[in-house]
Amino acid sequence: MSKPADLMQGTLDLLLLKILAIEPQHGWAIGQRLKQLSDNDLQVSDGSLYPALHKLEVSGWIKAEWKNSELGRRAKYYELTRAGRRRLDEETTHWRRVSAAITLVLQLREV
């Protein structure tokens, strides 16, 4: 694969929620984690990461807190809210169903 895949609408939200479900993180670390976890296959441009995070915050799925970072500099850490946790479960179920369905379709034999 030459170029990282563009993320489907809504998929980025799911990934961000999942990453934050593991542990609270600041924006930069979230972006790095995303790259690492997907072996660089999934990437999100720096310019669209923050709007996505803020949208989740405005929707009440995640909340933010300013804390000292590993650098000693204050950073904005995001963590899942309880509502966000539920949302993640729902979205995960939904994703599994959709991807299973798509896989099923793609397995059809061409005649």
Partner: protein, 893 residues
């Protein structure tokens, strides 16, 4: 959605909206952190620091842009723009504090007056009566030709209650006053005899104890009980929580308190303070109509349904009311006619609320109309002010428009400015309303029904908010709509050239202000004349230097006529011996206004009007010897009462009665007696006295029959004293004398007769005073409007005036030019105003007395007044124009 999430969302959005600076700074920090981390990572990967930072920035894009995007994500764009406009408006107003203060003051008075009157309208007319399902409550009355609503007799009440199916229950009451011996001093209280089911009909429970009387308590000679109002319980018994079961002394009788009603509980606006069981005797007189009835419609029954049922009852009432034996004996004239029927003795059913409010409806609506006019004038005034400002701000708008501001946004800006002003005005206005209402209710506590409930409640606040918003939008937009026609014009030239179109709008607004002011001033003038006429009505006696008070002897300690007569004698003698008192007399019904007690008498040799052998007398009066002389009532025929009239039953009649029953003949020596009672003794008429007002100064005088108070000694009498002293100066002596005779008796309503008259015309006085306030406000606003517009015209036409003066126009000519222009506008306003007033004469005429809405004197005075004020308002700018130095005026541009 769970609550915590909702709270998070709201918090973030509000923060973005209200604390944008902080919220944006945070976003910038977050981006800066990202850049720092990325730069560091790049350096670790072998880049030079400057390369590393450049690369990080390249991948992120413009931080400013991201921060903007992040903000837009959180803030609602519409609210955000609104917020900006709001702050812009406040800045603009802060820059011109004089204008802002004038506008806020104008609006505070306009909106405040509307809030105050609307809170009256709300409490008196709009709000349902304070009972559960109040719409079901009906007043039930008898209706006789010519008398309008009348009371119901006890047998009629019992029959109706028994026969009707349209009403689930019907209660009856009779208001009265009583002496209450409370802890500190005897006091006079408003009281009510109430049937046991009255409270149930109304659906109100007691606050303490019980709020009803049992059937056993309604029988004659039954347990003596009473129910107190919350207010009396508080004021006379200190809110004693153990009051139920204790006894109180009412009219010399010990009564057990069985309950206390909740605060502000009231029946028919009579403001009763205590209730006693209504005792109905089994053989009650059919002709004695003394009950007021309130019925509750059964569920599902409409007013029309109840009326239809009553029509059917009326057809057969007589045959149902009199048993077969009575009818077999042949109907006697008296009893057959004293039964309701479908012709001359009907039953009327009306919604209770309408009967409680009565004709106060017109008063309140007229006042509301007046304050709406004041507000319209205020709006027109502010529009002209804003219009002038808009002229000077044309450039600002044009520049902003050229820089890409949408026209809608400019319109929004103007609206916001208007609304900011009107909101501040409304806030101050509510204060004005509270203060005004407090003063008004203190001066006129009983003038309007239900006025105890007047308050600034949620409905009133919503009304005020709506008024403020619509006011702000209207006067905010009006100037802009006008200016926005040519937004680019101001940029092309210097902007000083005034189009005549703008002037005509402004003149139109001023003419409208004057027209509205004319209407208000005419209204105030007519009411002023009404009050003047009412206070000069000849009531039939000399009201100067008269002092009066009431004294009521309870039946228990004063059971017999001689007991009461002795008391009256001693009271009269001791008062007459007081220094400064010239003469003293007693009367039952105090002129000029008392309750009608219309009843029938049998008159010897008088066949009566076409439908019967009885006759109805409107007022039954009792007066002591010396009353006619003390009051200065003329004796027209025969003689007045003398102390020796104790022995023989004699009577006086007023002129109206003499004329209506014995036209062209002398009534002296004629005899009459109580109706329908052949055993009653005959009373001989010994004199005819002049007519005295009884039902109010504005009412026509009814027939009146005077009995000798020395002979019958009624329990409750009014003392009248001709004196050289004021009521206040006499008060200590009166208190002392009454207290020495009987310490349990309160002195009731000690007043000068002039005060009695003032009370009798309190409502028109209130309307007149309020209208004068509103009219003055309107005049001041209209004068300011005229002055402002003319001043502005003069300053705009400096150049033209300068040229005229250079070319030889005299100062007089310049003055004339300006003043003519102003007066032309005034004339248009005057004509329009008079036309409007004439159109409203139907509404006003019911409030007037002795003057018609088209009264030429009033109209001429108003035209003169307004023309004078307008001339003054024109002369000031006119004078300024003549002071113009033509050289300077021409050099200015």
């Amino acid at each position: 959605m769970d609550w915590r999430r909702l709270a998070d969302i709201v918090r973030i959005r509000i923060r973005a909206l209200l604390r944008r600076t902080a919220s944006d700074a945070e976003a910038r920090d977050e981006i800066a952190f990202h850049l720092a981390m990325h730069t560091q990572a790049n350096i670790r990967n072998g880049m030079t620091p400057s390369e590393a930072e450049h690369e990080a920035r390249r991948l992120l894009g413009s931080p400013t842009r991201i921060v903007e995007d992040l903000h837009d994500l959180k803030a609602l764009p519409f609210v955000d723009a609104l917020w900006q406009d709001l702050r812009h408006a406040l800045r603009i107003l802060k820059k011109s504090p004089g204008f802002a203060a004038a506008a806020v003051l104008t609006l505070a008075l306009g909106i405040g007056a509307n809030t105050a009157i609307f809170s009256i309208l709300n409490a008196v007319i709009l709000r349902p009566l304070e009972y559960p399902r109040a719409a079901q409550l009906m007043k039930i009355v008898t209706v006789f030709p010519g008398t309008g609503d009348f009371w119901v007799s006890a047998p009629e009440y019992l029959e109706f209650k028994h026969w009707t199916h349209a009403f689930s229950s019907v209660g009856a009451y009779v208001p009265f006053e009583a002496n209450l011996a409370a802890q500190d001093r005897p006091r006079r209280v408003r009281a009510m005899f109430a049937s046991g089911d009255l409270f149930r009909t109304l659906g109100v429970n007691a606050e303490l104890g019980r709020g009803w009387f049992g059937a056993d308590e309604e029988r004659p000679g039954s347990a003596r009980v009473t129910i107190l109002s919350h207010e009396l319980w508080q004021s006379a018994f200190g809110g004693d929580h153990n009051i139920v079961g204790k006894t109180v002394d009412v009219d010399g009788v010990r009564r057990t308190v069985v309950g206390v009603m909740p605060p502000r509980f009231d029946i028919a606006d009579l403001r009763a303070q205590l209730w006693q069981p209504l005792v109905i005797l089994p053989n009650a007189n059919r002709g004695s109509h003394n009950l007021s009835l309130i019925g509750r419609l059964a569920n599902g029954v409409t007013l029309d349904g109840a009326r239809a049922e009553t029509e059917n009852l009326l057809v057969n009432w007589r045959s149902m009311a009199f048993d077969a034996t009575t009818l077999a004996a042949g109907p006697t004239p008296e009893n057959s006619l004293h039964s309701p029927d479908n012709k001359n003795h009907r039953i009327g059913i009306y919604p209770l609320q309408g009967r409680v409010v009565g004709n106060a409806v017109t008063t309140v609506w007229v006042l509301q109309g007046a304050v709406v006019l004041v507000l319209l004038i205020a709006c027109a005034n502010l529009s002209t002010l804003l219009l002038s400002r808009a002229e000077t701000r044309r450039k600002e708008f044009a520049v902003r428009s050229a820089l890409g501001a949408a026209r809608g946004r400019l319109l929004g800006q103007a609206m916001i400015e208007g609304c900011v002003l009107s909101t501040i005005g409304a806030a101050v206005g509510i204060g004005v309303a509270v203060a005004g209402l407090r003063a008004m209710l203190a001066a006129y506590p009983d003038v309007l029904p239900r006025s105890a409930g007047v308050s600034i409640d949620v409905t009133v606040l919503v009304f005020t908010a709506l008024v403020a918003l619509s006011t702000g939008v209207v006067f905010g937009i009006a100037p802009l709509v006008h200016v926005s026609g040519d937004l680019n014009g101001p940029l092309k030239d210097s902007g000083a050239r005034a189009g005549s179109g703008r002037h005509s709008v402004r003149r139109g607004l001023v003419a409208a202000e004057i027209a509205l002011a004319v209407t208000l001033v005419v209204g105030a003038g007519l009411l002023l004349r009404t009050v003047n006429n009412l206070s000069r009505v000849d009531a039939g006696f000399n009201r100067a230097n008269l002092v009066t008070f009431g004294v009521s002897l309870p039946n228990a300690p004063y059971p017999n006529i001689p007991d009461r007569h002795t008391f009256h004698q001693r009271l009269t003698q001791q008062l007459a011996a007081t220094p400064g008192v010239l003469s003293v007399a007693l009367v039952y019904g105090l002129p000029p206004s008392r309750e009608i007690d219309s009843n029938t008498v049998t008159i010897e040799g008088f066949e009566g009007r076409e439908n019967g052998s009885w006759n109805t007398i409107d007022y039954f009066q009792a007066a002591s010897a010396g009353y006619v002389e003390t009051m200065g009532i003329p004796v027209l025929q025969g003689r007045a009462f003398t102390p020796s009239d104790v022995a023989q039953p004699v009577a006086l009649v007023n002129q109206t009665m003499a004329r209506s029953i014995w036209p062209g003949q002398s009534p002296i020596g004629r005899r009459l007696r109580q109706c329908c009672n052949p055993a009653a003794p005959w009373t001989t008429i010994v004199g005819v006295v002049g007519d005295v007002k009884q039902g109010g100064v504005d009412k026509t005088i009814g027939t009146e029959l005077y009995f000798s108070a020395d002979r019958i000694a009624p329990n409750t009498m009014n003392v009248v004293m001709r004196t050289t002293l004021t009521s206040a100066a006499l008060a200590p002596a009166i208190q002392r004398i009454v207290h020495a005779l009987d310490a349990t008796l309160p002195v009731i309503k000690l007043q000068a007769m002039d005060e009695v008259f003032d009370d009798a015309i309190a409502r028109p006085r209130l309307i007149a005073q309020l209208l004068i306030i509103f009219a003055t406000l309107a005049l001041v606003l209209a004068a300011i409007g005229t002055y402002g517009v003319l001043s502005y015209m003069v300053s705009e036409r400096r150049r033209e005036i300068g040229i005229r003066m250079t070319l030889g126009a005299t100062r007089t000519a310049v003055m004339r030019m300006v003043v003519t222009q102003g007066l032309r506008t005034t004339l248009v306003g005057l004509v329009a105003g008079i036309a409007m007033t004439l159109a409203l004469d139907q509404v006003l005429s019911t409030l007037l007395f002795g003057v018609t809405p088209t009264d030429p004197l009033t109209l001429a005075s108003v035209v003169g007044l307004i023309a004078t004020i307008a001339a003054a308002a024109c002369a000031v700018p006119g004078h300024a124009a003549t002071r113009l130095n033509p050289i300077i005026a021409l050099r200015e541009e």
